[in-house]
Amino acid sequence: MTLIPLFSAPIYDSIERKIKAAIQSRIGPIGFPRSFLQSWFDIIKLFNKELVLTSYGVSLITILELILILITMIILQIALLTSQLYWIISLLITFLSTSTAFSLFRAILLDNPFSSIGAFRGFYITLTVEGFFLSSLIIMLLIDVSIISRILLFCVIAISCYVVGSKVPFDIAEAEPEIASGVYVELSGPLLAIALYSLQIKRYILAQILSYSLLKLINTSNTSVTALMTVLLTPIIWMIFGIVSAIFARTRVDVGPSTLLKVVLILMLLIIATLTVKVV
């Protein structure tokens, strides 16, 4: 079960593309088996392209990032099966934050000032929600709180999962019309395939975390049911994310994070209020 995301993440991505195409009145990937495997085909094709190395640092970081994300993914699967173990959840949080830290590392390592503009924009967005995301995840998973707090926490996690997954309107890091591009211009061939694959796995992890917190919200205690439910809920959440990203436009570097910060801060204040009320 731990290996499901490895295969299904690109498949979900293909289905999302198909749904987006339907929203845009297009066909999208053609053919019955093909349309569900299109992202796999893309990755395989990219792997067969020639590799142009711009700097060793970036390629190393890209590979390391994939490894880190894979570890996070495996830990998440274990955590889902054995949610009683607190240490494994702490480990999950640690690895989640480390993989984000790695994307900062990559932004600093870039030689090309243009892509570093984009990379920093992306990092800027991530940084806005990352702290709140991790802290609310900790509270949600480890502490038993009231239902109102849990709903608020779920909101924060949902917003953060969407933002960290870097979808429209928060894809300013890689968007071409924003004049500066992100990390992807530095990557080519197999490296780009690795970067795309790790992004898809990351999105899977985020969707899975969100579905797990949804189950936490309803407060299901049976572990095996939880594990099964997350597997079923993840694609649904992924597709909802896809639909949301299709009906919005891209935000601006200064407007996006500030709006986001306002929303998340209000939610966090409310959470703190509900938590203190309970303590009192």
Binding site: Q24, P169, A249
Partner: protein, 548 residues
């Protein structure tokens, strides 16, 4: 058009020791001694005239002088005033750039291409010609053959290129679909100054039209290829200019058909633009749906003319394809459904929070600057200037249709967007009205004659603004054919619009004037003002663009 203003102009011209060459229904041709041109231009400008363009002409065969024609338009009176100044080959001519700032580009162009010596522009770099073009070759002079290719010393040229390059985006940058070169000087994420270099693909169409290769009959097809989106505007403007010069009376039915097609072109161009804007703002669904709505309009154009774009039906004295009853009914049906769909979708489009947020208050062009630069089209109308050739200088069948000119006073990107949205509805209504009134009769004149050395100015409202063609007729082909595309007048305004705006909005602002450069290569440089140099930025200089 009132005779009062003509009297006034006559009086002023005589007062400034000039002479009136001729007065036609819509244009006054005058010649002013060069020492008085500034006074006259100032007087015209203050009485409400907009600068349309100016054209340098090599008249050495006729009068052994080089001439410069300033073309002004009195929008309120619907009257064009063409002012000629002339001088011998190395004689200095005064510039009127300090009176009307918008004249700078066309004066520089006359300097580059015709070799006029205009005072006040000595230090300015070349506008149209590349740096490696030889010093004494002026392509628009009559003694230079149209297929002249100078010897270019590439090695020397590459040495002259600035060694220090800033932060180049491109040359293949997917955000720009035509060749242009903007240098954005930024401080953090804020643009503080802009440098523009265009004319990378100056194709010499004017020269080609004046050459042996083309005749009056074939130039409409050449003119149609000036622009890929509003080509019919150019061919219409060309034939209108020739018809004005030769005094050809075009059958009414042909005028109606031309107007209908011009409006179809406007609809498709605006829908295309809205789609592109949606794409720039990351709203790809908007892009897809806008272009989906546009598709029936393209098919309709194909039905009426035989081609989706470059309709190719304009000939001097009329058109080549008729609109019969079947086509008319089909067109009305298509337009009805396009209006429905567009109405439904645009409602969603302008409710997207990011689109509203990113277009409101960005790329502001104040009204007075818009006036000084004589900007045209939706750019002017978004800044509160009520300029529209269709109303001011009624041509073809527009006088029979009733329509509004949408004007917004905010001057920001949203205003320009809304102007275009409103214009789509207006255009649909114009076509419906004209189709209903379509008169009977022939669609082209049987024969015509074009006398030599007649002048005419024609203006047609393109989707991007006023398109001006100036013609001096010659034997079998124009002696001089000057084309001023609308974007030519709008680009200088970009500098004002981009200043002090966030870098992220820069591209949206550039697109908001609906620029129509004309194809291939482009580079965009980001230069730091603080370090005061264009050197390649060191590792950490680049950083500060992202995190302040």
């Amino acid at each position: 058009m009132s005779s009062g203003i003509i009297k006034e102009i006559e009086k002023k011209v005589l007062e400034l020791e000039g002479l009136i060459e001729s007065i036609t229904k819509t244009t006054i041709f005058t010649e002013i001694p060069k020492k008085n041109i500034k006074d006259f231009a100032k007087w015209l400008y203050e009485s409400g005239a907009f600068l349309k363009t100016c054209a340098g002409v090599d008249e050495r065969i006729i009068s052994s002088k080089l001439a410069l024609y300033y073309i002004f338009g009195l929008d309120e009176k619907g009257l064009d005033v063409v002012v000629k100044i002339s001088g011998f080959e190395r004689e200095a001519l005064p510039s009127i750039v300090d009176v009307i700032p918008g004249v700078e580009w066309c004066e520089l162009e006359a300097r580059d291409l015709v070799g006029l010596y205009i005072l006040g522009h000595e230090d300015k770099p070349r506008l149209v010609l590349p740096q490696d073009w030889p010093e004494d070759a002026y392509p628009l002079r009559k003694d230079v053959p149209h297929n002249y290719r100078p010897q270019i010393n590439v090695e020397k040229f590459s040495e002259e290129l600035p060694r220090e390059v800033g932060l180049p985006i491109g040359p293949y940058h997917p955000i720009l679909h035509e060749p242009e070169y903007f240098e954005l000087y930024v401080e953090g994420e804020r643009v503080v100054d802009v440098y523009y270099r265009g004319f990378h693909v100056h194709r010499g169409i004017e020269k080609l039209g004046e050459s042996q290769r083309f005749t009056y009959k074939t130039i409409p097809f050449l003119a149609e290829r000036i622009c890929g989106i509003c080509g019919f505007v150019h061919s219409s403007c060309y034939v209108l200019a020739v018809e004005k010069a030769a005094g050809i009376n075009v059958p009414e039915r042909a005028e109606f058909i031309r107007s209908i097609l011009l409006e179809i072109e406007r609809i498709h161009s605006h829908l295309l633009w809205l789609g592109v804007v949606a794409h720039i703002l990351g709203y790809d669904a908007g892009f897809m749906h806008m272009w989906r709505i546009r598709e029936p309009v393209m098919v309709l154009a194909e039905l009426l003319t035989g081609s989706r774009k470059t309709y190719g039906i304009n000939i001097i004295g009329g058109v080549r394809r008729d609109i019969d009853e079947v086509k008319k009914l089909k067109a009305l049906k298509v337009l009805r459904s396009v209006r429905e769909e567009f109405k439904r979708f645009i409602d969603v489009f302008i409710s997207i929070p990011e689109i509203v947020k990113r277009t409101t208050g960005t790329g502001i062009l104040p009204r007075d600057i818009a006036r000084a630069l004589s900007v045209v089209g939706p750019t002017a109308r978004g800044s509160g200037l009520k300029r529209d050739v269709r109303k001011d200088y009624p041509y073809f069948a527009y006088k029979y249709a009733s329509f509004k000119i949408p004007v917004y006073t905010e001057g920001d990107n949203l205003a320009r967007l809304l102007v275009r949205v409103d214009e789509v509805f207006e255009s649909i209504s114009i076509i419906e009205q004209l189709l209903d009134m379509l008169p009977k009769g022939p669609i082209a004149v049987e024969s015509y004659e074009i006398p030599r050395l007649k002048k005419a100015v024609a203006a047609v409202e393109a989707p991007r603004g006023e398109d001006v063609h100036f013609i001096i007729t010659g034997l079998d082909r124009p002696y001089r054919w000057k084309v001023r595309a609308p974007t030519y007048q709008n680009i200088p305004a970009l500098r004002v619009m981009l200043k002090d705006a966030p870098l992220a909005d820069a591209f949206l602002t550039i697109v908001s004037i609906d620029p129509c450069f004309s194809c291939t290569d482009r580079v965009l440089m980001v230069c730091d003002v603080k370090s005061n140099s264009k050197r390649f930025m060191s590792l950490f200089e680049g950083r500060k663009y992202a995190v302040k």
